[in-house]
């Protein structure tokens, strides 16, 4: 599995060379955009990491986990990932900040860290996408879009715990 990232990078470069793309210039352009994106979400990350660290150091996480864990445990979902799961449909950068705080507290290779990763990779900022796409053409009645999208989010939540347990023990 450790070869996936380098191999993917090599495929991109080879295909770029075949198609005669100015590879390094394009790389610089993309990297610049990447920095810009990160720069734009930096305040969100700062604000949310600060807030979540208050939750942890003030003892509020334990209180919340105790309240939420019976529900989460019923579906085999780690309580530490619940805040991220709740924020995910609303805010992408917020969910990224909470994902990072799960990594920091439990480690990226812990069960909670893996479930949080799988959930981050298999869900989207649902409400943002629905509002943006329909709003852009003035649609007011979205019919059953939200029902389908919320069902997808819940499915991703349950499946992230199930598949992590199945494949990564």
């Amino acid at each position: 599995m450790s070869l996936i990232m380098p191999a993917f990078a090599a495929v991109i470069l080879i295909y770029g060379l075949i198609k005669r793309v100015p590879v390094f210039d394009t790389f610089l352009e993309g990297a610049r955009e990447g920095f810009l994106t990160l720069w734009q979400i930096a305040p969100t990350i700062l604000g949310l990491l600060f807030a979540v660290s208050l939750l942890r150091t003030g003892g509020a996480t334990e209180v919340l986990c105790r309240l939420l864990s019976p529900v989460a445990q019923a579906v085999g979902f780690p309580a530490e990932v619940v805040p991220m799961a709740m924020l995910r449909p609303v805010s992408g950068s917020g969910a990224t900040a909470l994902l990072l705080s799960v990594f920091r507290d439990c480690g990226p290779d812990s069960f909670a860290g893996r479930v949080a990763s799988v959930l981050a990779g298999s869900s989207e900022t649902t409400f943002f996408a629905v509002t943006m796409y329909f709003g852009s053409v003035g649609i007011r009645n979205v019919r059953h879009t939200l029902l389908a999208a919320i069902a997808a989010d819940l499915t991703a939540m349950v499946l992230s715990a199930v598949t992590t347990r199945l494949f990564l023990g």
Partner: protein, 197 residues
């Protein structure tokens, strides 16, 4: 939304710390957490910059258009009423393949164009069957190579940043299947009702 959530987290934590007697730790977190956030951002900058650069090459070399061509037959089955040569269908295939490649910045403008073309075919203030399907597909995560996610894992010290790949695929596929089933069922129910009238 975040206005409320953020205030709630901070205020709730401060109140909790008074009851749990951890007010000292909490006030220390004011400096520690912000310093941590900055360290993290700097670590992230490198790996995110790297993948953004690589994915830009993928985009420029036409990997996106290649994938769009591959997925056109499959997407035609989901959108049978759209003209295969039409602008709406083209924008949809390009948007979906940009999503598959994880090119968020490319996918969004293509998606907005697809909505505009779909709206031109249908009009009104009510979503058409195709719009529901298309937006639902965009609310499920379709990404084949979650490079940013792997980068986040790697910079947090993961021993195997891509080990989550198969679970991510299965979980996304499951979520997409549920979303599409509900979307298609909803469209069919509406069709049946219309025929009866």
């Amino acid at each position: 939304m975040l206005n409320f959530i953020w205030c709630f987290i901070v205020i709730f934590s401060v109140i909790c710390s008074i009851f749990t007697g951890k007010a000292d730790d909490l006030s220390k977190a004011f400096t520690d957490s912000t310093a941590d956030a900055m360290t993290l951002l700097i670590t992230l900058a490198g790996i995110i910059g790297l993948w953004s650069g690589l994915m830009k090459i993928a985009e420029r070399s036409g990997l996106n258009a290649l994938l769009a061509k591959l997925f056109a037959p499959l997407l035609h089955r989901l959108f049978p009423r759209l003209d295969r040569e039409g602008a709406a269908f083209e924008a949809i295939t390009m948007n979906i393949s940009a999503n598959l490649l994880g090119l968020g910045n490319t996918a969004t403008p293509l998606g907005l164009r697809a909505m505009k073309e779909l709206h031109a075919l249908h009009g009104g203030e009510e979503a058409s069957d195709e719009m529901v399907l298309f937006v639902v597909m965009n609310t499920a995560s379709l990404q084949l190579m979650p490079t940013t996610l792997a980068a986040l894992r790697q910079s947090s010290g993961s021993a195997a940043p891509f080990e989550i790949l198969v679970p991510v695929w299965l979980s996304s596929a499951g979520a997409l299947a549920v979303a599409l089933t509900i979307a298609v069922t909803g469209n069919r129910l509406r069709e049946r009702k219309r025929r009866r009238l």
